[in-house]
Structures are given as structure tokens and as C-alpha cells.
Amino acid sequence: MAEIVVLGAGIAGHTAALHLRRMLGRSHKVTVVSPNSNWNWIPSNIWVGVGKMPKEKVIFPLAPIYRRKGVEFRQAKALAIHPQGDADDSRGAVDIEYTGANNRGGTERIRYDYLINATGPKLKFEATEGLGPDLGNTVSVCTADHARGAAQKLASTIAKLLEGKPQTLVVGTGHGTCTCEGAAFEYTFNVDHALRDAGVRDLATLYYLTNEPALGDFGVGGMIFNQNGFETNSELWTSSLFREREVKPIIGTHVHKVTASTISYETLDGQLHDLDYDFAMLLPPFSGHPIKAFDAEGNDITSEVFAPSGFMKVDADYSGKPYEEWSASDWPKTYQSIGYDNIWAVGIAFAPPHQISKPNKTPNGTVIAPAPPRTGMPSGTMAKHVAMTVADRVKVGPKAKAHEASMTTMGAVCVASAGTGLTKGSAAAMIMDPVVPDRQKYPTGRNLATTRGEIGLYGHWSKLMLHYLFIYKAKALPGWQLIPE
């Protein structure tokens, strides 16, 4: 019997666990460790954040799904891993701390034969003074609870506008190293739509404050599209949308501080600015979760297993070569941990070898470098492929070849909602193929036959379809495995 432990139950961890359960007989044990009791379809948090969807529609409890599928579930967070085992047992182990109401604070060491790290991001609001909904002054849409808070704050801002009081709203990134700019972009246009719906758009000034060096960069260096016989780019395409919706973009920013009324930020030219605001949704930067690693003697080997960012080192090129010299081959293919052939890291948990978008530094030395996004589609795909590798290793043996799913060969879909409604909705629908450009394979870095950017009602239908399809899949209802990642 093999014991497989999956850390995290987000898109990557949950996908890996369900596929492992499907591919391996019940004689093998699959255990999921997640501090959260619910699964969250994060892309729809945007709708929760503008009050168009209740929180309950984007989450569901994990325990009943795992009970039905025969997956062990521990509501706990990982504290440390022991990849070489310890004095009692040479098998690997993970130290966990329970987070559920019944046993909060209790700890346990659980053994594994195979470990998949899919812990997702730690939301580092503390990286910017005054950032975040708990200890800071801004709202967030990163979790369903955050999104509900954002909707309440937005509703009160709209109420003031309805009283005839002009308001300034800011949406964007709260640090120079943020990722997921697509989410900020999407929330911007949903806020714009909510303001228009309420008939108060003319009294509102809406800013998009971003660390991207250009509009349409999205942390992936932008995209080239083939459109109506011309090659155009995502910068022109998104600029058009911003102009049309009268959103004021401020690019290449690092936010230093947020008070209750002012956002202090620096731009790429080193200039410092203050922006007074009434409502602000600013994303935090991400890091890995603070998981330690120890060898068999108990020595700290965290720096060997994890990058300084807290993300796990895998089969990527971490030599630190200059940005201009990186190539597609630097990116991981199997997601196997360095030094341990029974540990993998998938989704946001693996350490990217370098930025995709060009990193910059201001004359003051402030780093403004959008981090590479690892969105749902690639996260699910890499999780499935790692699950296939683990299943092969269990069934065939340790020499079974690892399955590969490089972000330089897989594409991703980003449907950025810009308003809801089956006949009035709108969305910017983007396909980037591949996510990480391969300039040796494609002159523009990406496949022009599939890479697209379009705006329209159908984008909203697609987003709605993805919402229901992926929640169906995550609930492991009949035929779930037929729905692609």
C-alpha cells in the first residue's frame, strides 16, 4: 500500500487528489491536508466582490466530497517536511497543525511515500504598510470572505455617490512584485459596470494602479494577436478598453504605504506620488507558505528545498541568469523536487525560474517586477500530470517515466469579466498559448493560431460556463474527469 499526501486543496491540490483517487485502487491511501474546510472557485470571487453573486455560490465544503471519494482529509496546515524521514522511520513525513474548530492547535507527524506540495500562495499583505482588509485599509478579492467585504465597501461607496458625493476608486496591485494582474483588471471593469448600473459613473473617478510596465502585460510580457489580418498586441487592445470605459491607468507602480485616505506609490521613473481615495481594492504580493524542511538528523535544509520566496524548487533552471538570457527550457517539466524523487510542487507552490514580464528597478532601487502568474488552467494541468506520474510510480515502480506538463507548451484561458447578465454581460476573453513564451518555436513567442483577445457578450457566457463546469468537476460529480483541467 502506498500513502500519498497532498498539501493544499485549491485547484492544483484538489485536482491531484481526485485524479490520484481515480487512478489508484482503494488499497492505496490518499490524504489531503488543507487549512481551509471549503473549496473556493477563486475566479468567481470577482462577482462576489461587486455583490453580483453570494459567497455561498463560489465555495463548498471539502469533507463530504472526500468522504464520498475515499480520500482522507485533515483540516490542518503544514509546518515542516522531513523528506529523509527521522530517527523513527526512514519514510518522509510532514508535520501538520490542525486548524479546525474541534482540534485547533493540535499537531501530528504524518508519513508519506509520495508528497505533492500544492499549498498555493501566502497572501503577503504585510509587505506593504496599510495594505489588506484585516490589518490595513484596502479590500481584497483573494478569498471569498475578502470578496464579500469588498462588496460591502463598494456598496457603501456607491451609496455615497447616490447622495451626490464624488468618490475616487482605485483597483490594482499593492506592491511592485504582485502577480495575477488579470484579476485586478477584471475587478476594475466589474466595478465600472456596477457604477454604470447604479447610474453614478459620472461622479466616480476610477483608477487602475498596476505594477505592469505596460497595459496588457498581465505579468506575461503581453501578447501578440492575429486579428483581421493584422498582428496587434494586448497593450493596444486593453488600452482601447480603458479608454472606452474611462478608466484611468497608472502603470509601473510600487505601493509604499496605504493610509485610510491616501495611497503613496512610486513609479518606474522614481517619482513618488500620493493618491487620495475612498475605495481601494489592491492585490497583495504572494509568497510560499512558511514551511520548513529538515534532514534525517533534524538539521534545517529549508534553503535546499525551498527558494527564498518560500516556493519549492523543482526541475527548473535556478542559476539566476540575466532576464535577457532566459529560454523556455528553463521552465520545469515534471515539477519534481530537487533531490527528492517522491516530492513534487504544483500550481503556485513551485518556484518559477524567473519573471516572464521584464523586471525593472527605479532610480531609487525599488524593484517593480510582476511575478509570473500560475492560473487555474496550468495549475490543474500540472497537478493532473503529477498525479499520473505518482500513479505510474505506485503501479509500475520508481523507474516509471515522469509525465511532463511545461508552461512553455500549455496554454491558458483568461476570461476577465467586465459586467454580468446573460444579454448585457461582457468579458475580455483571452487565450495565451503557451503561457510562457517560447521564442525559439514561435517568432512572437506564442502560437498566433490560438492566441486571442476578444471582447463581447460571449466572454461572459464563457465565464459563466466555466463557473458551473469547474464547480461540477470539483464536486467530483459523475463524469467530472471528462472535463479538461
Partner: protein, 57 residues
């Protein structure tokens, strides 16, 4: 000039005056149910093609 306008003038807002604006035909096309249904089908076929051809191996 409102306080918002004064603040906006002081911020390094990107100049979008050269960005193309959609014309009436384009705006209407974005909400044309038949046209959008066709795009919906094409978009999803394109995704399936991408998933089947390059999602990993």
C-alpha cells in the same frame, strides 16, 4: 474643476488619447446574440484544440 479632476491632473495617468475606440458597428456586434453565439462556439473549440494538442504529455 472638481477636486477629483485636480487630483487626476496631478497623477501620472497614461495618455490613452491614441487608443482606438470601437465604432457603433463593433459595439453592436459585441451584443449581437447570433454573432456572439458563433464566437462562443469558436472560442470553446479553440480551447479544446489547445487542450488536446499541448496540455502536457
Amino acid at each position: 474643476m472638481t477636486d477629483q479632476d485636480k487630483q487626476s491632473a496631478a497623477q501620472p495617468v497614461l495618455d490613452l488619447s491614441k487608443a482606438p475606440m470601437p465604432n457603433v458597428k463593433t459595439l453592436k456586434a459585441r451584443y449581437n446574440l447570433f454573432g456572439q453565439f458563433g464566437k462562443f462556439v469558436a472560442f470553446n473549440l479553440r480551447i479544446m484544440k489547445m487542450v488536446l494538442s499541448g496540455g502536457g504529455h
